[in-house]
Amino acid sequence: MQKIGVFVCHCGTNIAATVDVKAVVDALAKEPSVVFAADYPYMCSESGQNLIKDAIREHELTGVVICSCSPRMHEVTFRRAAASAGLNPYLVEVANIREQCSWIHKDKAEATEKAIILGRAAIAKALLNAPLIAGESPVTKRALVIGGGIAGIQTALDIAEAGFPVDIVEQKPTIGGKMAQIDKTFPTLDCSACILTPKMVECAQNENIRIFSYSEVESVSGFVGSFTVKIRKKARYVDEVKCTGCGLCTEKCPVKNVPNEFNLGFDNRRAVYIPFAQAIPKIAVIDPDRCNMLKNGKCGLCSRVCEAGAINYKQTDEIVEEHYGAIVAATGYEISDVTRYGEYAYTESKDVITSLEFERLTNAAGPTGGVLLRPSDGKHPHTIVFIQCVGSRCVLEKGKPYCSKICCMYTAKHAMLTREKYPDTEVYVFYIDVRTPGKNFDEFYRRAAEEFGVHYIKGAVGKIVPRADGTLDVQAADLIMDEQLRISADLVVLAAAIEPSKTARKLATMLTASMDTNDFFTEAHPKLRPVESPTAGIFLSGVCQGPKDIPETVSQAGACAAKVIGLLSKNKLTGNPCVAHSDELMCNGCSSCANVCPYGAITYLDKEFRMPDRTTKVRRVASVNPAVCQGCGACTVACPSGAMDLSGFSNSQIMAEVDAICR
């Protein structure tokens, strides 16, 4: 026989003003199996909690129903109180008679009647509560960071700093990401490489960090605390251990005409190359598509000159299997394709470039040694037009509906730096809105306009026509003047939208992490859990979650690291015990549940059953991993046989509540 205690809270006058608390106590005391019922002004106060604890002990209660504020408010408090009195915390039910009763109803009789019904429903549910014990699972104390840009680097460094081993997987031959290609950073204008490369070196030197460069994640299995990840180390054809990064192979390589990705194709590299001088790891890599030796076995020059004997044309991809407790997605972004906007003549003129290309053209380590020259003829440009929102805020199929966030600031930076270095230039910026929320951001933009004389024009560019004389005829609107402008420009810079890495969706599928329609990873909660994926154990760092600038990326990377450290510092993970469970005697093994599980928490086992006629039979049955299950209940409805049920919200409990309400 169950013994239920009912506790009705006045919440001062919050409840008592519209609900006759005494009447509720009297009515609920008459319910069968209720052995104790009391009210108290503040049930959540220490003395209120003591009332509950004493009653549990004195009446040997098997269940507790508290009629009070929303369970979202104090369920945890009351559960803890019950636990301290020796009652399993999951035997506590809360009837919400404040937010969902006293605060919305004015008529006292009506509100009291409803409070009684809500109390009865809670009792009906409490009678079917089972003591639940949260499961535990071990934590592998190693983290994986996918992506070696500034987001990944910072996350890895912070985790490593806390004493946990971290692996970085980077698909390119070097870490560094986009930040390595940027010239200067806003709003301070310090040199990007100067602040990034020390961090890259730190990564290489930190004992807790391993870098898998030129590698990709092949598969992910497992769950929070114990993921198993297969990493494909692509063949570099260079022995990582032996290579000293001297660069001799690169010098001697006869294939000289490979467009250099790092400089966005403005200059060439060799078939064997090191992406840039400060690359980490500084190990050469052979481009198998261009190397003569790999293509047709004719050359082998690099192998002959390499004193370390590091060249190995027979190298193949290698799959490494590693175990992790947490995984960080830091896959960053790419520049969206501007060729889809024919009006900007990007494909027609070499002098229409993207902002990232502009970065390389102004970078001292870039193809022009930092001198701004027109890509077409290498001449000094005099009139430069910057166009904002190219592809951003565009709801058409080819565009991105979101604001790329960083373009206003880097365009201001570019315009300012151009005017500073080349005062003879006229610089125009066509903007729709200038968005500068950020510390010292607006001041920075205003400086560009006020001190450096950048012409900011509110309006868009309609069309660019390359002229025979090498100039670009820019046709634009000036909305303030209400006139159509024509500018004859020497160089046009497009602030192209940024988009998530093309690899992100494939990765998200492997991680069972969710994504939005733009392929940005979804956070567990947009406000309160911005660096976690809804999938436990998966964390988000940097632009893969949404557009952001470097300082934001670094702070998110740190926040992400803190979450990872928090996870890895635990020896065991305690789960939410309100998870699904399958009755294997009823399970058909049909896979319906696994098909709807957003967490991949359900696997199937072939299990041997003793049949009623004393034979045995092997049947496929579902098994829920309680560490992965988050307790949504989607599987319980998908299951036709009713084998799947959810602890804490069982079928019978919900139906008992329905019955009590409709009684």
Partner: protein, 343 residues
């Protein structure tokens, strides 16, 4: 001997309905005939038989037995029984008419089932002889004469009307109070009508069945026959045969909580269901073979054993038409009657 011309059937029913509720077979949706309360305008079905048997009148599919009502922490017991009105069922065929005597042996033997007894006491069976038996009819195999059905009153159909004869005091009294609608007739006509039916009945393909191997005392011969496996292998374990059967009488007792009251009711159960004999300790009939065997052994061996040799089947043929997989008592009988000496 009384005679009721078909043209006067409506008047008879109208007069009868003034005395008691009267139920008649009516053609329903999808060519299903079913018993309905007669009201002016109701057309009596010409179908050979109803889809469901007439046992529903005395042993309905569900019936409330008792209720429990809770007031605060006390429990009150509620008796749901109300005074039953008198009623009559018209159109019962010989097979169903015989089924009542089988049901009586179950429900009226000591201790009598008061719910059933109450309905029997208030009900009047007005049976009608068959004129066009179907190929699935095999009542004759069980000694039932389709031309002379049992019942409180027998209506012998001659194609143009009915020879009416009372077989019980209740029936006598009923006819007495309705004497105005009948003509007087002699028994020769009735005899001729019966003979007509008999001539067809003699040609029924299943009219005689090899029953010698069945009946009381045959448990040992039949229980372990290997044929049970192949006979039962296609059985899907539904309850169709038992629910259309006029003599199946198994039921389950369940509780239903209405929110204000718990109602204990009984409802038909089927020995074909996997949970039929499920008990606290398990289930003694583990496979469909055992459940299947039970049904036929009960009808053909156990029931006669306990009831003076009367078989528990009346040969109405409903199960032959209804079984989803075409298995039935006739096939079982014929298969088991073949050389069964090996076991």
């Amino acid at each position: 001997m009384k005679y009721l011309p078909t043209a006067r059937l409506d008047r008879f029913l109208e007069d009868a309905a003034k005395l008691r509720k009267i139920y008649v077979p009516v053609d329903g949706e999808q060519n299903r005939a079913a018993y309905r309360l007669w009201m002016p305008g109701t057309v009596v079905s010409k179908a050979l038989n109803t889809t469901r048997s007439a046992k529903d009148f005395f042993f309905p599919q569900t019936e409330n037995l008792v209720g429990f009502r809770r007031t605060e922490k006390k429990l009150e017991i509620v008796d749901p029984r109300r005074e039953t009105e008198d009623f009559a069922v018209f159109g019962v065929r010989a097979c169903d008419a015989r089924s009542f005597s089988i049901l009586d042996k179950v429900f009226l033997s000591d201790p009598a089932d008061t719910y059933y007894a109450n309905r029997r006491a208030h009900g009047l069976v007005l049976s009608v002889s068959c004129r066009r038996p179907a190929e699935t009819c095999f009542c004759t195999a069980f000694g039932i004469d389709p031309s002379a059905p049992e019942g409180d009153v027998t209506f012998t159909d001659d194609g143009e009307g009915y020879y009416v004869r009372a077989n019980s005091e209740k029936g006598e009294a009923f006819l007495e109070s309705l004497s105005g609608v009948f003509d007087e007739a002699d028994e020769a006509g009735e005899k001729e009508a019966r003979a007509q039916t008999k001539r067809i009945a003699d040609r029924l393909p299943l009219g005689t069945l090899p029953l010698e191997k069945f009946g009381g005392g045959k448990t040992k011969d039949l229980f372990d026959r290997p044929e049970w496996s192949s006979l039962s292998e296609s059985c899907i374990g539904c309850g169709t045969c038992t629910f259309v059967c006029p003599t199946c009488q198994c039921y389950d007792i369940r509780d239903f909580d209405t929110g204000r009251e718990v109602r204990r009711f009984r409802c038909w159960d089927s020995c074909m269901y996997s949970d039929f004999t499920k008990m606290a300790g398990g289930n003694p009939r583990l496979t469909q073979k055992e459940r299947f065997r039970q049904r036929f052994m009960h009808k053909l061996v156990y029931f006669p054993e306990n009831n003076g040799g009367e078989f528990g089947c009346v040969g109405c043929g409903r199960c032959l038409r209804a079984c989803p997989i075409g298995m039935n008592i006739v096939k079982v009988l014929k298969t088991l009657a073949e050389d069964g000496n090996e076991s």
